[in-house]
Every structure is written in C-alpha cells, then in structure tokens.
Symmetry: C2
Subunit: 227 residues, 2 copies
C-alpha cells in the first residue's frame, strides 16, 4: 500500500509517518520508483505498535526505537532478550530530589527486602535478585512500611498469586503460535500494553468492592466532588 | 520534634521540607516561638507519603497536594471521595500527537468495549461505565486488537479474576482499622503505592515463567545483551 493508504489504515497522519521513517522507528518501504514506496501489513502492524507505545505508555522515541530494533532481531535466546528489553525499558519514575539515606531507613529496607525474598521463595520463583522489578517491588514495600502500613509475607503472597495468574494468562497462547518471532512479538506487546489493562482492572475491582463496603454508609452529598 | 529532627527521621533535606511547607503540601508545624516550630509524627507520616508519591509515582506537586488535602477532609462519603481522588489522579499518558480517528477503528473500538463490558458483567461488578479506568482498559484492549492480538472475554476474565484477588487483598485489613479516617488513608496509600508493586510482581512472575518455558532452548550467547 502507498503511504496515504498506510495513513488511512492506521489513523496516523502522513506527516507523522514520515517523522517515524526519518527517525528510523518505522522501516523504509519498498521503493517502486524515485518517489513512491510500497508498504506492507508488517509496516501497518509496526505503526500501530508505535502509536500504542507512545499513546498508552508515554514512551519516548528512543525507547520505542529500541523495542522495534529488538523485535527485528532473529528470535534467539528468547528468555534473555525479552528480559533485557523489558528490564531496560522499565525505568523507575525519576525523583524530583535525590533521597538522603538515613540510618533509620536501613532496618526497614532490610525488612522490606526480606519480605519480598520470602514471598519469591514461597512462590518457588527462579528470578534474578538484582532486576529493576525486584528493586521496584522493594522500594514500594519499603515506602508502605515507612508510612506505617507494612505488608507481611502473607499479604504479599496474595499479590504474588495474582501476579502468577496474570503471567499464566500472558503466556497462555504463546505455545499455539507458529514461529518464535511471533511468540516474541506477542510476549513483548502483551507485556507492555497489558500493564495498563492490569492497573485499570484493579481500579474497577476496587471500585466494585468499595461500593459494596462503603457506599451505603454515608449520606453527605454536600461538598462531595462529582465522580 | 524540630525541623532538623523531622529531616533526620524522614531522610528529606530541611531545604526540601521548607519547600513543601511553602507549597502547602506539608501542614505547618506548631509554632512555639517566632522562629521555632514543632512537628509531630503525623507530619513525619505525611512527609514520607509525599516522598513516596513523588519518587515512586512521579506525581507532580499539585497532584500530591490534592491527595493530601483529601486526606485531611472528614471521612464522609468514603466511596465517592476515594473514587473521585483515585480517578482524578489517574491521568492517561499524554500522546505526543493526537490520534486521528478513522472509520476502520470504530468496529474495533466497539469490539474492545464489548469484550470489556462482558467481562465486567460476568464478574458481577457494579462500576460506573465512564471512569478513566474503563477508558484506559478499553484503550489498551483496542490497541492490542489493532495490533492483531485481540483478547476475548475468556482471556480478559483471567485478568479480571487476578484484579479481584488484588482488590480483596487491598481491602482485607480495612475492617480491622479503628477509624474511618485511617481506613481512608490506608486505602488511598495502598492504591497508589501498590500499583508499583503489582506491576513489579507481574514482571517477576513473567521472568519465572519465561525461564521455565524458554531459557533452555537457545544456546546463542553471542551478541546477546547482558540482562
């Protein structure tokens, strides 16, 4: 298809498609003359992916470029490549000011890490101890603890069980796919796009539960902001 | 405690504490003289919360101020206030360029919304149909569909079940708390901070599963990036 048809099919302006081409995000089409290029369904798929990663995840152009470059590699060493890619793109939110370490924090940091390690062991998970995900989990548990809401292993295991259910769902269809390249694409796309879905579904479940528990108990609409 | 002790206990510099005071994020301490103020454990708790929301969630100062202001309201109409607060602070990632709607998208958008509505109905969830969470879930499902990885209701229900497990864990301790104000605080803090934990635990579960399925099958370390 021509660039105009690619634009119509994807909902992305020709101007933006040309930007992605210049940036090397989108692969060049097949030149049929000096001024015309043909694009395939693969280009369309990549373009839809680029928009999803930018729109839904707010990823910067460079990060999106890295994902696409990795997708085009031969699908060797699936596990390590997927782990590398996901890990390199999971940046923790940058702090406005660097936190200053205090002696009082150390004991809590150790307690948060211990709780996490115990939960990982109880789940029988074989995972690298130094990933961003481990640090991110530890940091959030540490913050809860310092705020006075420590999670113990039993609490955390409920979240781990839910995570296991999610990961099983994430991987459920991979074995039905025809090629390793396709398996890699699916795993990567679902990992990134479904983060949004997972958090949204959590909100819906919370809204339902909160309504069940609390909405009948208060009758003070005055001054209540509209939902 | 004095501001210097508040700084030592929280790990936040005096300079930054004064910034938060000027911005109205942190409540003023109790003035004991023209130049000295006393701070309580409640101030320490708020300061830890501010850092967590900035560090872990990257929330802007205004958003953090809204959360703290809501926490100080009398805990009436718990359900609506919690929903309003969580909903108002769940901003979707801003797109770099606005997406252009095409006729071809409408059918897919409807399909994504139908799948979502069916899953919500199957879970028996009583939720408002127009929340950010519903739009966010729909947008992510729509993107997957347009990329050629549509989720059907059976798939989505696995994520919904996991979300239900998570929400049950989120609310498990609320009934054990002494005051409604405390219940509100806990629900709000856990909602925000555990988003990070939920996504991190998903990564760990995925890493484990991926290792189980794939790591023994490839033996090409050459050119593989280090994890």
């Amino acid at each position: 298809m021509l660039i105009s048809e690619l634009s119509a099919a994807s909902g992305v302006s020709t101007h933006l498609i040309k930007f992605y081409l210049r940036e090397g995000l989108l692969r060049q089409g097949h030149l049929t003359s000096r001024t015309r290029a043909e694009y395939s369904d693969d280009h369309l798929r990549e373009l839809v992916l680029i928009r999803a990663l930018v729109d839904l995840r707010g990823l910067p152009v460079q990060a999106v470029g890295e994902i696409l470059a990795a997708l085009r590699l031969p699908a060797t060493n699936f596990h390590y490549l997927l782990g590398y890619l996901v890990g390199s793109l999971d940046e923790p939110a940058p702090p406005a000011e660097p936190s200053e370490p205090t002696g009082a924090d150390d004991e809590d940091s150790t307690a948060a890490r211990r709780t996490l390690d115990e939960a990982v062991a109880a789940m029988g998970w074989h995972v690298h101890p130094g990933t961003k995900a481990m640090r991110s989990a530890e940091a959030s548990l540490d913050a809860l603890r310092r705020y006075g809401i420590p999670l113990d292993v039993t609490d955390l295991l409920q979240y781990a069980q839910a995570a296991d259910t999610i990961a099983q769902a994430d991987f459920a269809h991979l074995s039905t796919l025809a090629s390793r390249q396709e398996m890699f694409e699916h795993a990567l796309i679902r990992t990134f796009l479904l983060d949004t879905t997972v958090l949204a579904m959590r909100r819906l479940a919370q809204e339902h539960l909160s309504g069940q528990h609390f909405s009948g108990e208060d009758t003070d609409p005055a001054g209540t902001p509209q939902p």
